[in-house]
Chain length 292, copies 2
């Protein structure tokens, strides 16, 4: 059988395909497919799910005539990790405003709510306005991109495949790679460069993925098992200039089985384009001690 | 008429009284009264509203038998500023789990949603476990409390009354008070000490208020009008030791009419007890320039 022509509305890049939402019978519900290529181990990446929910939020706003498609602020609570496969996204436009609108979007699988997200949506200038009015947030200092180390999706000796590392190109500063050889630096910080693997430019939706795509910065403090995200908040500040972004992810404190982590993202022109915080759970071995 | 005895279930402190929620006809709905004493100008403080919503979330969980009362992670989007007076809080338990539960709570007035909040709730150890496993977040360095300056609720020459400053005692480092004399430092940072005015100890609920009680740190960059919060995310990490907490609030960047601000709170023993981020809108005069 001859190959079929690609429909013009089929996205030609991995991110847009994997976050696509399809209308459902009800105008505030969407169906989507959680792609097995955007996982950490067997579970989908949280930032990827947040981007999918944000896309549905933007489409729901469009049904009411609102032009807002960019998540200015995205907050999510993670209830259960869904599996790759079909999912339903339920949206509710809370307010459609002139400069900003608010939408709730929750992701369901097997009749259970897996992710509950809320968005303040707007329209970010593209290209951005000339320069920020003021910033105290200088881009993180790190090694040039060609001296940073590309993170693979799988490593010899590791059982876990991190398939999102085939979707993006994440290059970490060699000074922050102690975890890879079992010798964490003790600084609780990871610094790196990122692009999407197929070259799709980073926009507001893709930054939601980028804000949760690094390994946990706790890896540079103590080796642990799976660190499930409890909640994730991302402020998208500007559309990045073309090219790789710089990322700094750093732990605040590890206390009572949870840790907080800040992720900051700058574009090639040094502008802060996103700032994120997450609270995650961490299970430490009984005899664990922190690297110093 | 003789004074009535105080009912035993009437809270004896200002914070618990002002955030009290009463059961409604439906088990997932509550009524409450937004107290005019917790305002900035004529509008209620956002952290105060978030604490009220969190209290309703905990009561809603209790209806289902869950013991979770402490907001581990609170996220809110602010749609409209309500007025002091009656409000309805609508809750939805999204998941009731063993170590954490998720609840949505929205605050309504005049049939309009004003605040939409979601909480990951749990139980923080009280008193806290011995010490954090690891922290990179040393308490902010600031002047001793007796050298800091108590913020008044009203100032000569200012039209606005900040009534929350009568509910708490906020003492700011004199080095960060340039804004008070029209000479911002240009550092975009405020550091201070806080207690509740009536001595009520700070717990997880009260920290939600504390995390949004400082003036905007943009005051130390540029004088502006009202800076409405778009979204606020607070991670509560531990119950504070008795006594005043230290607070640092700092601007990330002011860009395209919005700014992000981080607020960190430490107790008297130096433990990080809360970390918050907010995105707010700022309207700058056309000829505004940033202090340096």
């Amino acid at each position: 059988m001859a190959s079929q022509p690609v429909a013009t509305d089929t996205p030609t890049n991995e991110f847009d395909r994997a976050t696509a939402v399809r209308p459902n019978l009800e105008p505030d519900r969407f169906t989507a497919t959680i792609d097995p290529g955007w996982t950490v181990g067997t579970k989908p990446n949280g930032g990827y799910l947040l981007a999918m929910a944000a896309r549905a939020a933007g489409v729901a706003l469009g049904h009411g005539g609102s032009p807002h498609r960019d998540p200015l602020s995205a907050t999510a609570h993670f209830l259960r990790a869904p599996d790759p496969g079909p999912t339903e996204i339920r949206t509710e436009v809370l307010r459609s405003g002139r400069s900003a609108s608010q939408v709730r979007a929750s992701l369901w699988q097997s009749q259970a709510c897996c992710v509950d997200a809320t968005f303040t949506m707007g329209t970010l200038p593209d290209p951005p306005v000339a320069a920020p009015f003021w910033s105290d947030n200088a881009p993180v200092d790190l090694a040039p991109i060609d001296q940073c180390v590309l993170m693979p999706s799988s490593r010899p000796g590791s059982e876990m495949t991190v398939s999102i590392m085939d979707r993006c190109q994440l290059r970490l500063d060699p000074a922050d790679l102690g975890f890879a050889t079992g010798s964490p630096s003790g600084r609780g910080e990871l610094r790196g460069w990122m692009t999407l693997a197929d070259g799709r430019p980073l926009d507001a939706l893709a930054l939601l993925f980028v804000a949760d795509a690094l390994p946990p910065a706790t890896f540079e403090v103590v080796m642990s098992g799976w660190v499930p995200t409890l909640s994730l908040s991302v402020a998208v500040r500007a559309i990045p200039a073309p090219g790789p972004v710089r990322i700094r992810q750093a732990v605040g404190s590890i206390d009572d089985g949870r840790f907080d982590e800040v992720c900051e993202i700058w574009d090639g022109e040094g502008r802060l384009v996103a700032q994120a915080t997450q609270l995650a759970a961490i299970r430490l071995p009984p005899d664990a001690s922190a690297a110093t």
